[in-house]
């Protein structure tokens, strides 16, 4: 190789102008080619990946929100149903009391009607009895008076017997009347 050069001990810091220019040109070509042909592809792929990941996160967040809303709605519906059930139970409770009260008053009315009817029958019977008794007592009094008058009034014993017979008759009549 360059034996001459080694004898001259070349300056390693020498800058040949042609090499400087070639270095600049070579770099500019590499830079142009990479930034036009290679790097847009990878930049686009990385952006797509980022947006895919961010889109996935957004979708997941949306799903989560939807699920939370659904849960909220179910909770509300459940609470509503519970309130409704409680209202129905309370309604039934008060209805039951009303029904029992009604039944009780009806029964009481029926009982009162029965009692009234019985009272009326009894009083009617008594009135009839009193009327017939009054009639019979009159008759008996008349017959007793007739007997007393017909018998001799001297004999106290007889008179007393007559009265006893009259009372016995009365009793007999009273028991027969019933």
């Amino acid at each position: 190789m360059n034996l001459l050069a080694s004898e001259e001990a070349p300056n390693v810091l020498a800058v040949p102008l042609d090499e400087l220019i070639l270095g600049i040109v070579a770099f500019l070509i590499v830079f142009w080619a990479l930034s036009k042909l290679a790097l847009p592809g990878i930049r686009k792929a990385l952006e797509e990946r980022t947006s895919a990941i961010e889109g996935g996160i957004a979708r997941a967040e949306q799903r989560e929100a939807e699920a939370a809303a659904l849960y909220e709605r179910y909770q509300a519906q459940l609470a509503e149903a519970r309130t409704e059930a409680a209202q129905i139970r309370a309604q039934a409770q008060s209805d039951r009391v009303a029904i029992v009260e009604e039944a009780r008053s009806e029964a009481a009315e029926a009982a009162a009607a029965v009692t009234a009817r019985a009272d009326a029958a009894i009083s009617a019977e008594r009135a009839a009895t009193v009327a017939s008794l009054r009639r019979e007592v009159g008759t008996l009094a008349l017959s007793l008076a007739g007997k007393v008058v017909g018998e001799s009034l001297e004999d106290d014993a007889r008179a007393r017997a007559t009265v006893d017979r009259f009372i016995a008759d009365l009793e007999a009549q009273a028991s027969a009347g019933h």
Partner: protein
């Protein structure tokens, strides 16, 4: 293989064969032109590093165009690897350093990182075996591009006055100190920055290549019918293999450092401090 290793192999120069150790020097970084042509009075020397430069450019472009052309939401195959690299540059360099406005600079930083990495990696690719970035003009050309981006960008975003003030007058410093600080800041931020930026990459790749070549040459040179020669040769070979692994690390690290510094400079321009 580099020139001197071939030279040593061809010459049959070994220990005890009457020739001294053909230590590699800076000339292993100089190559003869394969083709030369003139454009506008400037002669272009198409040497091996310049061919490797274009091969590396093609590799980077073809790999990432194939990986990302039909990028899908669910990555597979090459896209997985490429996507890892893309996210590393976007999140680990652009957004970490520049913040919200970093996304606009991802293509630039991505190109720097992977192009420089492949240029560095050429150091251990069989038959290439030369880090293109150890030609100082190459890292310098990248650093010049970064410089030509961030300085006008800073003027545009912050206004010339505010930008140069923020770059040369650190806040919370006693006024008297500005006499000292302003010249230092101008020197470090506007004059030597492209050089520190490029020399860091260049010197690392230069030194790494030099080490690997030295131990490769030693492996060949020490290979001779003697105990010390065989032991030395085996040890040198082991070191060469170890250094190659170490270089892989340095190649990625230096590509990262260059890109990170580019991001830091861009941050100076877009975010006033």
């Amino acid at each position: 293989m580099s020139g001197d290793v071939l030279l040593a192999a061809e010459s049959g120069c070994h220990l005890n064969s009457g020739c001294g150790f053909p230590a590699p020097d800076a000339s292993i970084f100089n190559f003869d032109s394969i083709v030369e042509f003139d454009i506008a009075g400037l002669t272009f020397h198409i040497t091996k590093p310049m061919i490797l430069l274009w091969i590396a450019a093609a590799v980077v472009v073809i790999f990432f165009v194939m990986a990302f052309r039909r990028a899908s939401v669910v990555p597979r195959g090459m896209q997985n690897v490429g996507e890892y690299g893309y996210l590393f540059v976007r999140d680990g360099i652009a957004r970490d350093t520049i913040g919200k406005q970093g996304d606009a600079f991802v293509p630039l930083l991505f190109s720097f990182f992977f192009f420089i990495w492949v240029l560095n990696f050429m150091s251990i690719v069989p038959f290439a075996q030369f880090p293109v970035t150890s030609r100082f003009a190459i890292p310098l050309s990248f650093a010049v591009l970064v410089y030509l981006l961030w300085v006008p960008l800073g003027v545009k975003r912050q206004g010339a006055g505010a930008f140069f003030k923020s770059m040369t007058m650190p806040p919370d410093v006693p006024k008297a100190m500005y006499v000292l600080l302003i010249p230092i800041e101008i020197l470090s931020n506007f004059i030597v920055r492209p050089f520190t930026h490029s020399v860091r990459l260049f010197a690392n790749m230069f030194a790494g290549h030099m080490l690997i070549v030295t131990f490769s040459v030693a492996t060949w040179y020490l290979l001779s019918p003697s105990v010390i020669g065989i032991l030395g040769s085996a040890a040198s070979f082991t070191v060469t293999v170890g250094l190659t692994g170490f270089e892989m690390l340095i190649q990625a690290l230096q590509a990262y450092v260059f890109t990170l510094l580019a991001a830091v400079y861009i941050n100076d321009a877009v975010n006033a401090h």
